[in-house]
């Protein structure tokens, strides 16, 4: 079984088997990923790109092979269109500072959505602060779906860039990104898609989407922490100024001037997270082998089952009931604060997240400070849903 390949699931919490339902925060990693990281440290421990010795050659080979695997996973035209980054947050910031900052001036607009994670809000607020541009927001409805009625006005002649999440980490909503990209492109507006929460669940095809940038968090797609990639269209990446200055991103340095290296090296200054990149490649291979269709199918089953079971708990209210959604459930229970629920069910082995999930605006919309969030991965089981529900009943009993 696929689940058996995730050793991090085999632990006990407060003497109970772990029921890990905090996958949207970070996933567990399959043994293949852990092995790939160890294999680098044990058998190929060297720096990359700059060595003529065999160890460095084989480390470089592994690292670049990982880039190829990731390009295949998201169907990028070339592995050279992928930049290794620490995670989604760095990817968004990189685009904000090197692509968008120079294109906007006071009065211009950057369009995001109400469903964004702070990592896809604050970088744009910083650019707005730096340039005088204005942040515009695609609104949402009670179901946690984007409302596109006014998209035509929101995408106007002042709009310089659009940045939208593929899947909401707080509500699970799958946004109609292809349609949004099309609409933006019709107005000549380039688009970044924050794919942090889509990668673990969906088959992503950046060419089919036709997005200009796509950001990926490695640790959420079963890869190592500190890993991720930014995909960008080659024409953009080639035209963008570098981000960090340092080793590897230059061709020639004198004190008077510096010639930058070609993409992707131009954006990968300094020694990267080599082990992390290699592990992320292993995660991509793992996912392709498991089959994205199987993963999506399993997600669907879990979502249907959990939805039904959670709705049976009296006093429980789920936020986010979009038609298209990933198996992510944000909920509150009358009379018990989310943090108290989190603490109580943890004592039954159930790990969920509580709070605003780095999406304060979403909870401002619903008029609550936060929620409990149970987020599933394909390796979760129906029994785990049952344990969750039982533990919620225990929490309710404690408070009444």
């Amino acid at each position: 079984m696929l689940r058996d390949q995730f050793p991090g699931l085999n632990i006990q919490v407060h003497g109970k088997p772990l029921v890990y339902l905090d996958n949207a925060a970070t996933a567990q990693r399959p043994q293949a990923v852990i092995d790939a990281v160890n294999d680098y440290y044990l058998n190929h421990n060297a720096n990359i790109h700059r060595g003529v010795h065999s160890l460095s050659e084989s480390a470089t080979e592994l690292y670049e092979q990982a880039r190829v695997s990731l390009a295949k996973l998201i169907n990028a035209p070339s592995h050279k269109d992928l930049i290794f980054v620490r995670g989604c947050t760095e990817g968004v910031n990189l685009v904000a500072q090197t692509f968008v900052r120079n294109r906007v001036k006071a009065g211009d607009e950057i369009l995001i959505s109400h469903l964004e994670h702070h990592s896809n809000i604050v970088p744009w607020q910083l650019v707005c602060e730096q340039t005088g541009a204005k942040l515009k927001v695609i609104p949402m409805n009670e179901q946690g779906e984007l409302v596109l009625d006014d998209l035509d006005q929101l995408l106007n002649e002042k709009t310089r860039f659009m940045a939208v999440g593929h899947v909401s980490n707080a509500l699970g909503t799958i946004n109609p990104v292809k349609k949004l990209i099309q609409a933006a492109h019709d107005k000549g507006v380039p688009v970044l898609i924050d794919g942090a929460q889509a990668m673990p669940h969906l088959k992503v095809d950046v060419q089919d989407l036709d997005c200009d940038f796509y950001t990926v968090s490695g640790h959420k797609m079963y890869g190592p922490t500190g890993s991720g990639v930014l995909y960008g269209k080659a024409e953009h990446l080639n035209a963008m100024p570098p981000y960090h200055g340092g080793g590897e991103m230059i061709s020639k340095v004198t004190f008077d001037s510096t010639v930058y290296n070609a993409v992707p090296a131009k954006f990968e200054a300094g020694t990267p997270n080599i082990a992390g990149g290699i592990g992320l490649g292993a995660a991509a291979e793992f996912m392709m082998k498991a089959g994205l269709d199987n993963i999506t199918q399993r997600d669907h089953e879990l979502r249907i089952y959990a939805e039904q079971k959670l709705n049976e708990v009296s006093g429980l209210r789920v936020f986010g009931t979009a038609k298209e959604k990933a198996p992510v459930f944000s909920f509150v229970i009358d009379g018990i604060h989310a943090h108290d629920i989190g603490t109580i069910i943890d004592h039954y082995g159930v790990a969920i997240r509580t709070g605003h999930h780095c999406t304060m605006p979403i909870f401002q919309f619903f008029g609550v400070a936060g929620s409990c969030r149970a987020s599933f991965a394909f390796y979760n089981t129906e029994q785990e849903v049952d344990v969750l529900v039982e533990s919620l009943h225990k929490a309710k009993a404690m408070f009444t």
Binding site: I336, H337, A338, H339, D340, T343, I344, H347, T354, G355, H356, M360, F363, V368, A369, G370, M398, F399
Partner: protein, 149 residues
Amino acid sequence: MSELNKLYKKTILEHNRNPRNYGIPENWTHHAEGLNAVCGDMVNVYLTIKDDVLQHVNYSGESCAISMASASMMTELSEGLTLADWFERFEMFKLLMSKDAAEDLHYETLGPVNNLVTVKKFPSRIKSATLCWYAMAAAIKGEPTATTE
């Protein structure tokens, strides 16, 4: 489960259900907002201070049972104290909440606040208990906001 039952003691649950001095008063002389960056909890503290004495202590906000109970008990403990006495109790409270402190630490002067002693076994919840205290300290010092350390 006993740890859990100790954390959510009757007293705590009762304060959570019936918080004392809850709500925004009509008048106050000092106010500060406490923010817990990690979870988004917020608590507002409103004080009336006269001649260095805490005449009225109120609070508002929506937060977890630990935070509600802590604030409720804090307001009860604080009213009528001089500022100096209050800061003395704040120091005691910090010790009560410190991870390295003895499990059964107890400060007579803190009264019912001692019920919170188990919180320190739940590292991620310590800030829930301390937020209102930091907010109150900020209010006294004239600072508009406090974040827990």
